[in-house]
């Protein structure tokens, strides 16, 4: 480093610019300057924070920012401001860039009012913002956030990312306004539907505020009192009142962590699941109970039980050829069967060389079963009396070791050659073979490049679909979704050890 003064005088940069050629190639002398704009209105954004590596600045009232004394090179400039989606851009300096424009998409705001039948505002009503996603071919609901109405019955959900949502008014925050009245309302979706299937979605667009009002009917509500047994005093625990699809009821719950006694108020008549959970990780205990409510429930007892190990074995079918592998190679997955996404992760296990497997830490409840084997198809799968091939679902009862899963792997499946027909490069695509028998254990799902070979396909009739975009775009377990996609299905019959070829037209993943 030449012996320049420690504080470099400004004239040096000016001089360098005059000579139009830097004296030293790595001397930091470049600038990045630009403007941050609202992407929808085009207005400049004041006090947006712009960062480049190792520096930051706030924009002025004209939305402009400037970083100088930069060495030549590539930088990433990022801009953010509350109420907007952060966004950035790669910028190469050397020479300086003076015209960088960073556009930020505004987040949406959803507001509305909740009134009773007489049009009077209701305070403390919880309004949930719900998004949906598809897992295992089923639409699942996720609660993104929830707010309570104020004394005017008004709510405000700010910072909503653009997308499709459902809104649901369910239960009270803390307690209902009049604790003696014991009135409540049945949860209702925006638009008046009581079920998600018939609810109207709302679409949040950048910078556009949405209004969604609710009218609810107050009616007599009841109280559930009870206790959790096998309860460990003072260990964190919770009790939830869920609808039969796993949806939260929003009812205020009080739990005495010393005794396990609980009380749930403002329960409207209906069918519910009472779920108690205590402890963390492997030490968790759970109790679950179907609870119809048509009057006060006085002394319900929810017994807690620990997790169990679901054991099983996959045997290779006897009729297979001697040369075929005798050891199955299967991945077993249990995922919660409810429509509402809980915090539970799917539980997974793999087969041992003997074919045995053990899924650990399974809490009581309903699960969907997935069995994915490398070399064949599931010819039979039972758990006690339950035929998993027919239902795809199993129930773990509290307090007892479940019977083992017994499955048979057949290696006499056929092969399907899939060819994609698309103009240009469609990007990543997905293919699914849906068995006409409805047995989801035999569904085949894979990523499709231009060609794909699916082997070990169970003999039978299938409908094949292909699409681009999100792998979960196709809600294949829903008959309506299959109906909507019927036009793009290709039928194929697979026989034992035979080989079929199909050509699938790849179309965009959105439901038409």
């Amino acid at each position: 480093m030449p012996s320049y003064p420690a504080v470099r005088p400004v004239w040096f940069a000016v001089a360098a610019a005059l000579f139009a050629a830097p004296l030293l190639a790595d001397e930091p002398e470049f600038c990045v300057a630009g403007t941050v704009l609202n992407a929808v209105t085009g207005e400049p954004l004041h006090r947006a924070a712009v960062t480049i590596p190792q520096s930051a600045a706030l924009t002025d009232a004209a939305g402009t920012f400037r970083f100088c004394q930069l060495s030549a090179g590539a930088y990433y400039a990022n801009a953010e401001k509350p109420g907007f989606v952060a966004s950035g851009s790669r910028v190469v300096v050397g020479p300086s860039r003076e015209d960088l424009v960073l556009r930020l998409q505004p987040l949406s705001v959803i507001t509305g009012k909740v009134v009773d039948e007489a049009g009077e505002p209701l305070q403390g009503v919880l309004v949930q913002l719900l998004s949906t996603l598809v897992a295992d071919g089923r639409r699942k609901v996720r609660a993104e956030s929830a707010v309570a109405t104020d004394d005017r019955g008004e709510y405000r959900l700010a910072g909503v990312t653009a997308g499709r949502y459902f809104l649901r008014a369910a239960g009270w925050e803390g307690a209902a306004p009049d604790p003696d009245a014991n009135e409540a309302f049945a949860p209702v979706y925006y638009g008046g539907a009581t079920e998600l299937a018939s609810a109207s979605p709302v679409t949040a667009e950048p910078g556009r505020d949405l209004q969604a009002d609710f009218s609810v009917s107050l009616r007599a509500a009841y109280r559930i009192r009870g206790s959790i047994t096998s309860f460990s005093p003072l260990l964190p625990a919770k009790i939830e009142l869920l609808g039969v699809g796993g949806e939260p009821s929003g009812t205020p719950v009080t739990l005495d962590t010393a005794t396990g006694a609980f009380q749930i108020d403002f329960v409207v008549p209906g069918s519910y699941i009472l779920r108690a959970t205590q402890g963390k990780g492997r030490e968790r205990n759970r109790g679950e109970l179907a609870q119809p409510v048509s009057a006060d429930v006085k002394a319900v007892v929810v017994p807690l039980a620990g997790s169990v190990v679901v054991r099983g074995i996959v045997r290779v079918a006897a009729s297979s050829e001697p040369a075929s592998p005798s050891s199955p190679n299967c991945a077993i997955k249990l995922s919660p069967a409810e429509d509402w996404i809980s915090a539970e992760d799917p539980l997974e296990a793999s087969t041992e060389p003997s074919g045995e497997f053990a899924v650990e830490d399974v809490l009581p409840g309903r699960y969907r079963v997935g069995m994915d084997c490398a070399s064949g198809y599931i010819a039979a799968a039972r758990m006690g009396d339950a035929d998993l091939l027919a239902t795809g679902e199993l129930r773990i009862a509290p307090g007892t070791a479940p019977p083992p899963i017994e499955a048979v792997l057949a290696l006499d499946g056929g092969t399907v050659d899939v060819t994609a027909s698309a103009e240009g490069d469609p990007g990543p695509a997905w293919v699914i073979l849906l068995p006409a028998s409805g047995s989801e254990l035999r569904t085949r799902f894979a990523r499709l490049a231009s060609k794909l070979i699916l082997s070990g396909v169970a003999p039978g009739d299938y409908q094949a679909y292909a699409w681009t975009g999100a792998p979960e775009a196709f809600e294949y377990a829903n008959p309506d979704a299959r109906q909507a996609w019927a036009g793009r299905a290709v039928s194929v019959h697979v026989g034992e050890r035979d080989r079929q070829s199909i050509t699938l037209k790849i179309t965009a993943g959105e439901t038409p």
Binding site: R47, A49, T51, Q54, S55, A56, L122
Partner: protein, 509 residues
Amino acid sequence: MIALLVAGLMAALQAAGGQAAGGHGIGGVVVNAASGQPVAGARVTLASVDRRDQRLSVVSGDDGRFAFKGLPQGKYELSGQRRGLLAGKWTGAIVAGPGQNTDGILLRLSPPAIISGKVVDDAGEPVTLALVELLASRLIDGHRSLIEAASKRTDDTGGYRFSALPAGSYYLVVSGVPWYAKFNEMLGDAAPRSMTHTGYAIRYHPNVSDPGAAEPLILKAGQEATANFALIPVPAVSVYVHCEQGENLTKQYTLTTAGLPGNPVHVREGSETGDLYNLWDVPPGHYTLRAEATDGSHTWYGTNEFDVAAADTDVSVALHEAPSLSGMVVLETGGSLPAQLTVRLYGESGRSQALALDNGGRFSIPAIPPGRYRIELRGADEFYLKIWFAEGGRREGEMLNIPAGAAVRLNLSAAKGVGRISGTVNRDGQPLPGALVVLTPANRAMPSNSDGSYEFRGLAPGEYALFAVEDGADLEYANRAAIRPYLGSAKKVRVASGSSDNLKLDVAK
């Protein structure tokens, strides 16, 4: 609308005999306290004073009227609530019985007052997640004090709203951190100090920075007030907290600064296991830092007061093992204590701590912050603290000083007062309901009942003064200065053990 009798009251009615056919009635009108208009659809609840679990409820009619019939003779409490109005109580008890005129009761329900507003920064941009604290001036046990009534975080528009407020006097305190100050942690000194070393000065209504210049918002029932604030960014520095004790212990830190009387403002909170903790973006000022750590069986406390100026500041805090406190309450005359009796310690910070007694009257708490405390017996009016002494702590007048690390043993002797004073309050020769009857120096007060009657039980022997004030809801009756104007015309009474006095009072003019 007519209430149906609950089974318990029916039984009581039959036990009372005689009046079974008619019983007594309590009725009247629910009105809006602000407009005077009748309130329809209010839930009106009547509870027996002696047996509060026995309650009757009716809903007021379209004309606001309500009526309870067939009641046994006795004292009742009347309350009402309706959505959109604050719950309300009739002041005093209603005495139902022969010759009592109890069918013209006016039950007033107040519309809620509301305070709302917006918090912006110096550029007029909304400040999101600013903390707005609402302090209410309330009478507690006859003392006026400022208590935190509610707190809210501002929304994305900088807006906040407090609803369901009773009429009264309120203060607002607003604090916050600029959202962009987070870049301090990410970038340190690489970013301009104006961006990263910035805090907001605390603001008080009416948008002032000096707590001495804070003014109350005085709200009438149903009044809506607006209070807007501008938070001004000021240069702020880092405070490096050094705590070299308690390795592997998580220290909880709380940084406060003096705010309104008795209500220090929480500036930062955080926890750290290591020996250095950085409090970001602290504006200049005078602060108190408190540290607390626990390992499950022992607790440590530490505190340090310091000034922050224009440069980053290092402060150290030493942890001291928390004092423990145990003791016993015995009844002077022997015998068992009432189950609801508790020992209450009032700290100088305004916080109080209730200690439950076991069957033997023993109490203990493994850790209590060091400091000066006032000791009281609560939960049963007729029991009072007669004598106390402490081992391991210092008695300073009526206060107990608990030093750090001490194991304090407290011996309390309780006595049961058996004196009684009762009577009626009159105005112009007529019984006056709802007047405040004050008994001093016991610091006890009660409203007169529907027939003007009042009664104090469980009084310790001694000299008392007694007076009644017609509109006494706001009287700070435990404050000598506030009641001095009434003492001249107060009735003096000497209570002896087991004595019973009957005194007619005229309301003080």
